[in-house]
C-alpha cells in the first residue's frame, strides 16, 4: 500500500466528507437506527446518507434502496449494519462511489465459528483489493471529535480532547469514554476494533502516533497475532507520544511447554510486559488507572526528574502520600534549606518544616498559592502533589445546607470559603504552567462531591483532580518512568 493511499484511507475513517449508514433502520433498538441517530445527534458536519431495502426516510435522512443511487464522491466512509451475507456486494458498490473506509459492525464472522472465518478472510481480501480501509467486523463503532463524528452503536459521545483510543473490546471504549465524560478530559479518536480482521490495534496506535491532534494513545489489547510487529508499531510512537496499554489475559496461565528453563518461564504475560516496557509504553492495571494515566499525560508536563514534594493542609494525608512516593520510582525530596526558609517566613512554626510540607492549618488567605508557587519554582523540585483542596468548600456546603443560611454572616463566609478553593485550584494550574512542572491535585471530593468548587475548578482548568493521593502518585510515577525511558535513550534514536 502506498503512503498516499494509507493517508487517504485514514482521513476517510476519521475525517470523512460524508458517511453512508448501510442497513439503516426505523427500529430504535437496531444498530442501523442507533448509528444514524448518533451521527446525526452529535453535530457531524459532513453529509449523511442512509440505505436499506425499504427506502423511505429515517431521522430526516432520505433512505436509498441502492448504493448506486447515491451521488458519486460525496461519502468516503461507510458504516455497515447489514447482515454479513450482504457485505461483499456492498463494499464493491461503495468503492464505486469513492468510499475509502468502512466500519463493519456486522457479526457472523470469525467470532461465529463455522464458515465465519472464511467469510472474514474474503471480506478482508476484498476490502484490500478495493482500496478500502476496513475496521471490524463485529465492532461497535468509532468516534472522531475533531470531525464531530459519533459513528457508534454505544454511548457516550465524549468531550473533545487529546486522548485517542483503540480497543479489542467495544465496552472498553465505552468505559474509557465514560471517564472522559466524568473527568472532562476528552477524547480525540476512538475505535472499537471488533475482530480487528484488517485494521489492528497496533495499526491504530501507529497512526495515532502520526495524527497531529492526538496527544496520547490509549489501548486495550487481548490477543496479538504478531508480537514483533506490534512492538515495532508501539516503538514508532513512544519517542514522541506516550502509549498507555491495558492487557487482558496476561495472567501466568498461558505457560508454554519448553525444554529449557528459560522457555518454561517465558509466559505470554511476562514476555508481553517486558516487550512493552522496552518499547516505552505504560502498562496500566485496569481501565480506571489507564484512563487516569492517559489523562495525566494529556494534561500535565512531563517531570524532568523524580524529585517530588507533597504539599498538604493536614498531616495524615501527607504521611500516606509520602509512603506511596517511597514505594514508587519517584523520590521524596528532602526539603532544600532555602525553600524551608522561604516557607518559614509564611507559616507559623508548627508546620512540618520538611517534605511533606504540612501546613498544619497555618494557612492565611494567600498562603496556599504562595507556598505552591515557591515549591514548584524551586530548581530542585521536579513535581508537586497538592492535598487538601476543597476542605473550606466542604465546610461551606454544610453551612449552606443548614437552617441558618444565609443569615448570621453565613452567606459571606460561605462565599469566602468557596472563593478560596477556586483560587487554590487555579493556583495549582498556574504554578504548573509557569514552572513547566507537573502539579497534581488529589482529594476524595473529586468523586464524593464533584460540585465542590475545589475539584470543580480543577476540572475547569482542564486537568484531572485525582480521587486519592495514591492514584495521583501512580499517575506521576508513570510519567516519570516514561521520561526516564527517554532519558536512558537520549542520543540512541530519534
Amino acid at each position: 500500500m502506498t503512503d498516499t493511499l494509507r493517508a487517504e484511507q485514514f482521513r476517510a475513517l476519521f475525517e470523512p466528507r460524508g458517511v453512508i449508514v448501510a442497513g439503516a433502520s426505523t427500529h430504535p433498538a437496531k444498530f442501523g437506527f442507533t448509528a444514524l441517530h448518533n451521527i446525526r445527534a452529535n453535530g457531524y458536519r459532513g453529509r449523511v446518507f442512509a440505505t436499506n431495502l425499504e427506502g423511505g426516510e429515517i431521522l430526516g435522512v432520505p433512505v436509498a434502496t441502492d448504493i448506486a443511487d447515491l451521488p458519486d464522491g460525496q461519502a468516503d466512509l461507510v458504516f455497515v449494519c447489514t447482515p454479513a451475507g450482504a457485505n461483499e456486494s456492498l463494499l464493491r458498490a461503495c468503492a464505486a462511489k469513492g468510499v475509502r473506509a468502512a466500519f463493519v459492525t456486522s457479526a457472523g464472522y470469525r467470532e461465529a465459528g463455522g464458515d465465519g472465518l472464511a467469510a472474514e478472510r474474503r471480506l478482508v481480501g476484498l476490502a484490500d483489493e478495493l482500496g478500502i480501509l476496513m475496521a471490524g467486523p463485529n465492532g461497535q463503532g468509532l468516534v472522531s471529535t475533531p470531525a464531530s463524528l459519533c459513528a457508534q452503536i454505544v454511548a457516550p459521545y465524549p468531550p473533545p480532547g487529546r486522548i485517542s483510543i483503540a480497543s479489542q473490546s467495544g465496552n472498553f471504549v465505552s468505559s474509557f469514554m465514560n471517564y472522559g465524560v466524568q473527568t472532562g478530559i476528552g477524547v480525540c479518536r476512538a475505535v472499537s476494533a471488533g475482530n480487528a480482521a484488517a485494521l489492528g490495534i497496533g495499526d491504530l496506535i501507529a497512526w495515532y502516533g502520526e495524527d497531529p491532534v492526538t496527544g496520547v494513545a490509549l489501548a486495550y489489547v487481548e490477543g496479538i497475532e504478531d508480537g514483533r510487529a506490534f512492538y515495532d508499531q508501539v516503538r514508532s510512537v513512544t519517542p514522541h507520544k506516550p502509549v498507555v496499554l491495558v492487557k487482558g489475559g496476561a495472567t501466568p496461565g498461558g505457560q508454554r511447554a519448553a525444554a529449557s528453563h528459560t522457555g518454561s518461564l517465558a509466559t505470554e504475560g511476562r514476555v508481553f510486559e517486558g516487550a512493552m516496557r522496552q518499547a516505552g509504553a505504560t502498562l496500566a492495571e485496569g481501565v480506571e488507572q489507564a484512563y487516569e494515566v492517559a489523562a495525566t499525560f494529556a494534561t500535565q508536563p512531563l517531570p524532568k526528574g523524580p524529585n517530588t514534594v507533597v504539599v498538604t493542609t493536614a498531616g495524615g494525608w501527607g504521611v500516606v502520600t509520602a509512603d506511596a512516593v517511597w514505594a514508587s520510582s519517584l523520590r521524596l525530596l528532602p526539603l532544600p534549606e532555602d525553600l524551608r526558609a522561604e516557607i518559614d517566613r509564611r507559616l507559623p512554626p508548627r508546620w512540618s518544616r520538611n517534605n511533606p510540607v504540612d501546613m498544619a492549618g497555618g494557612e492565611t488567605r494567600d498562603t496556599i498559592p504562595e507556598v505552591l508557587d515557591l515549591v514548584a519554582a524551586h530548581p530542585e523540585v521536579d513535581a508537586v502533589v497538592y492535598l487538601g483542596l476543597g476542605i473550606q468548600s466542604n465546610t461551606a456546603r454544610s453551612l449552606r445546607a443548614g437552617p441558618f443560611y444565609p443569615d448570621h454572616g453565613l452567606e459571606r463566609i460561605v462565599a469566602f470559603h468557596e472563593r478560596q478553593d477556586r483560587r487554590f485550584a487555579e493556583a495549582a494550574a498556574a504554578v504548573s504552567e509557569s514552572s513547566g512542572k507537573p502539579v497534581l491535585t488529589a482529594t476524595e471530593l473529586a468523586v464524593c462531591d464533584p460540585a465542590n468548587p475545589g475539584p470543580a475548578t480543577v476540572r475547569d482548568s482542564g486537568r484531572l483532580c485525582y480521587p486519592s493521593a495514591n492514584r495521583a502518585v501512580a499517575a506521576l510515577d508513570a510519567m516519570w518512568r516514561y521520561a526516564r525511558w527517554h532519558r536512558a535513550r537520549a542520543g540512541e534514536d530519534a
Partner: protein, 213 residues
C-alpha cells in the same frame, strides 16, 4: 532437542562477550589433574558431552575438589559413569565459584516476539520466586540496565553479608552477550545460564546449556 555440550556452550557464549569462568576440557583423569593444578584449587569437575543436559540429576558434578588426587579420582568415576548413549564425553574442570546469590539468565525464541533475553532471581528457586523479566533482541545496554531495575528483589542486588553489590555493568555484559548470540546464531533455540552465581559481586555462568534446532 539437540543441545551443545557445556564446554561448547560456554565457548560459544564467550565468543559473543558473555563472561564465563576459565575452564579446561580433559580427556583423562591425568589430564584433569593437570588442568586443575593450572586453574587452582578448589575446583569442580563435571562430565561433559553434547547429550548431557541434566548432569546434576545423574550425579555427574563433583564440587569442591581440593587436590590433584581428588580430581583424578573424581574424573575416573565420572568417565566410568558415562553410558554409550552419552556419546563423546570428557571432563570439564573449572574453578569452584561460590557466592551467596544465584541469578538465572537465558535466551528463548518466543512464538510471538521472537528472540528474547531473560533475567531472573534465584537459580533453582526461580520458578517459586517468579521474579523474572524479559526483553526482546536486539538489546541495548539501556534495555539491559532496565531489566535489572525491573527485578522485584532489588535488595538482593545490593551489598549482602560481606559480599559487595552485584556489578550491574558485568550483568549488562551477560544480557547483551546473550542477545548477541541470538542475533548471530539463528539456529539456537534457547540458552540457560543457570545458575549465574554472584561471586565477589561478579555474575559468573557456572553452567550453560545451549539448545539448537
Amino acid at each position: 532437542m539437540p543441545t551443545l555440550s557445556e564446554a561448547d556452550s560456554k565457548a560459544l557464549l564467550a565468543r559473543h562477550g558473555v563472561p564465563v569462568p576459565a575452564e579446561a576440557l580433559a580427556a583423562s583423569p591425568a589430564e584433569s589433574a593437570v588442568a586443575a593444578a593450572r586453574i587452582g584449587f578448589p575446583v569442580v569437575a563435571k562430565l561433559c558431552g553434547a547429550g548431557l543436559a541434566h548432569k546434576t540429576e545423574r550425579g555427574l558434578v563433583r564440587l569442591n575438589l581440593r587436590d590433584e588426587a581428588a580430581v583424578a579420582d573424581a574424573a575416573a568415576a565420572l568417565l566410568a559413569a558415562a553410558t554409550p548413549d552419552d556419546g563423546d564425553v570428557g571432563v570439564l574442570v573449572g574453578p569452584m565459584v561460590s557466592g551467596l546469590r544465584e541469578l538465572i539468565a537465558g535466551l528463548v525464541r518466543d512464538p510471538q516476539f521472537g528472540p528474547c533475553v531473560m533475567l531472573g532471581v534465584g537459580g533453582v528457586l526461580t520458578e517459586a520466586l517468579g521474579d523474572v523479566v524479559f526483553r526482546l533482541v536486539p538489546l541495548t545496554r539501556a534495555d539491559a540496565a532496565e531489566m535489572i531495575d525491573d527485578l522485584g528483589t532489588q535488595g538482593l542486588l545490593g551489598p549482602l553479608r560481606g559480599e559487595p553489590a552485584v556489578d550491574r555493568e558485568r550483568l549488562v555484559d551477560v544480557l547483551v552477550g546473550l542477545a548477541a548470540v541470538a542475533a548471530a546464531e539463528p539456529g539456537i533455540r534457547s540458552i540457560d545460564l543457570n545458575p549465574l552465581i554472584v561471586s565477589a559481586g561478579t555474575p559468573v555462568a557456572v553452567d550453560a546449556l545451549v539448545e539448537t534446532a
